[in-house]
């Protein structure tokens, strides 16, 4: 009983669930703003214009690894090294997780390099087999990750680069559809990152927004650059929509409600 008594002291009861104070969802401002829970199976992240939504993904990785869940990372925009370095700053060890087989990486970005000369794999003429191949790669990795009891997350950064490879929008949507259907397995959740700049990008973003349980949008300020605010995060959960301003620092992100910038930065 005494032991239980001690444990209760470091837990705070929020609603009906018990949450530890060490939980990054409580202590980390970005994750506190996102509040992605186990029952949120599809998360879509959209970056508008020149905004960079990569920090949302890295923070989600932090949460996933904290909760001892599994991760399948598909790199189309940033190489693994980037995630590794950011991880050191955010307090997770991707290298160790890779060794422990908690994380699997599918790296089209580096595979493209080897296919530049041969014009095979990612650069072949048959665009359908590009996405097919990528899907089967992902599926294989996820099958290996869902051995245990833990939840496995699929993170794709960034889906819209498939368009750069010359894949038609319809095929990209098919690919997204296949990936979303992976959540038929209760142990799999998916996170998509997309960049919206052209009309075709927006088709993908909008369809993802439509099916997502949590939709996160990162935009630059409409008024231009500011030294105090880097951009705006909009988090949409079903009908609930909340907006935050954020300021990016080298070792973390601060979030605040619009108008509270000065209070938080200069106190």
């Amino acid at each position: 009983m005494e032991k239980n008594g001690k444990e209760i002291r470091i837990f705070v009861v929020l609603g009906q669930t018990m949450i530890s104070l060490a939980d990054p969802r409580v202590s980390n401002p970005v994750l506190a703003a996102l509040q992605v829970k186990l029952e949120d199976r599809i998360v879509s992240v959209r970056e508008n214009g020149t905004a960079d939504a990569n920090f949302i993904l890295t923070h989600l990785i932090k949460q996933i690894l904290y909760e001892k869940n599994r991760l399948c990372l598909v790199n189309l925009h940033n190489p693994l090294q980037h995630y590794h370095n950011v991880g050191k700053k955010l307090g997770y060890d991707l290298g160790k997780a890779l060794k422990d087989n908690a994380v699997k990486v599918v790296e089209p970005l580096s595979e493209i390099v080897s296919s530049i000369e041969s014009e095979e794999d990612y650069l072949q003429e048959d665009k359908e087999s590009i996405v097919k191949c990528l899907y089967f790669n992902i599926k294989k990795s996820l099958e290996e990750l869902t051995d245990g009891d833990n939840q496995a997350y699929l993170i794709i950064d960034d889906v819209s680069h498939l368009l750069d490879l010359g894949v038609e929008v319809a095929l990209v949507l098919d690919f997204v559809n296949y990936c979303v259907n992976l959540i038929d397995n209760d142990k799999i959740s998916v996170v998509f990152n997309t960049h919206a700049s052209t009309k075709t990008d927006e088709i993908i973003c909008n369809s993802l927004q439509y099916i997502a349980d949590v939709h996160v949008e990162v935009s630059p300020l409409k008024t231009g650059h500011s030294t105090d605010v880097t951009g705006v995060i909009t988090v949409q959960k079903q009908s609930k929509r909340s907006q935050y301003h954020f300021k990016a620092f080298d070792r973390g992100i601060k979030t605040f409600h619009p108008g509270e910038t000065i209070y938080h930065l200069y106190q």
């Binding site: 580096s110 493209i112 052209t198 650059h225």
Partner: protein, 313 residues
């Protein structure tokens, strides 16, 4: 586009903050990499700076262009000069008399470790009115197996101009921006996997603004140069010191959460006979116009009799 390494490569410096290898663009006031272009002149100068820096630090260098002959770009590369603010420690250490050719040869012959003193300041100063020596250049063209570890600099001039289109496709010019996206994305993959940097200039006025957004997304740093010549800003007195605006469209956060983007600061560039500089944009105080106003006012008050006391009625 900067890459990580464990061995030191001449002409580069290691950023402890985010574990990147940084290299110079050749413009000391800029020292980042660029992409994007205005109608020609100034972007070409930036490209030449970038390539000249590569040659001086004996990196492998690759030049491509369809609009002009690449060899003519190479011939016109600026020569390196001594500068007041540049501490060229290694040169002074070894040879007392340092003229501009010496620097070039010293950098080439020095073992890698001796350059470590120089790491605080990377980059050199160049004289645009003189051209670099041909002898020097031949040593740093692309080799399959360089003797020692080096950096590859890729400079592509006016990519996406009509000259790049293959004949069969020149009719379907709409497709060209898709090819461009594919090229830049593959280049991103390639450059990110090696010790290489690439500078591409694109004549943006030939494209719809939106179609280049994907290229910007695939690049790490995007810079837009807007020259004043030929626009109504040309005769604007307060901007007469400068030749154009320098917009930093994108500065990606690599290996870090926050980008180094300076925020709301505006920059302008000017081209002198020997030098291309980028400065923070300051509007001069409004003194000039005041004088003109006074001159006009004085005769009008002269009819009041005395022009000594303007407030006297």
């Amino acid at each position: 586009m900067e890459k990580n390494i464990q061995k030191s490569i001449p002409g580069t410096t290691f950023s402890t903050q985010n574990g990147q290898l940084l290299t110079s663009s050749g413009v000391p006031s800029l020292d980042s990499l660029l992409e994007e272009d205005f109608h020609g002149l100034y972007s070409k100068i930036l490209l030449k700076y970038f390539l000249a820096e590569g040659i001086v630090t004996s990196h492998s260098t690759f030049v491509a262009s369809q609009d002009t002959n690449p060899s003519s770009i190479v011939k016109e590369l600026p020569a390196v000069i001594d500068s007041d603010s540049e501490p060229e420690t290694d040169v002074q250490k070894i040879s007392g008399n340092s003229n501009k050719m010496k620097i070039a040869f010293r950098c080439q012959n020095l073992p890698t470790d001796d350059l470590s003193d120089n790491f605080k300041h990377i980059g050199h100063f160049y004289d645009l009115s003189k051209n670099i020596l041909k002898l020097k250049m031949e040593s740093s063209f692309l080799k399959d197996n360089p003797e020692r570890r080096s950096l590859l600099r890729i400079g592509i001039h006016s990519l996406g101009s009509p000259m790049w289109l293959p004949h069969s496709k020149s009719v379907h010019s709409i497709d060209s921006s898709r090819d461009l996206n594919l090229f830049i994305f593959c280049l991103r993959a390639l450059v990110r996997s090696a010790y290489a940097v690439a500078v591409i200039t694109i004549p943006t006025h030939l494209y719809h603004e939106i179609s280049l957004d994907r290229c910007i997304h695939s690049s790490d740093i995007a810079i837009r140069l807007q020259a004043f010549s030929g626009t109504e800003l040309e005769n604007n007195q307060s901007l007469s010191d400068y030749h154009g605006f320098f917009y930093l469209t994108k500065l990606a956060a690599i290996n870090s959460l926050a980008s180094r983007h300076p925020g709301s600061v505006e920059y302008a560039f000017k081209l002198r006979r020997k030098k291309f500089t980028i400065e923070m944009l300051h509007l001069p105080p409004d003194i000039g116009e005041d004088r003109e106003n006074k001159k006009e006012k004085v005769p009008s008050l002269a009819c009041g009799g005395s022009n000594n006391h303007l407030l006297e009625f």
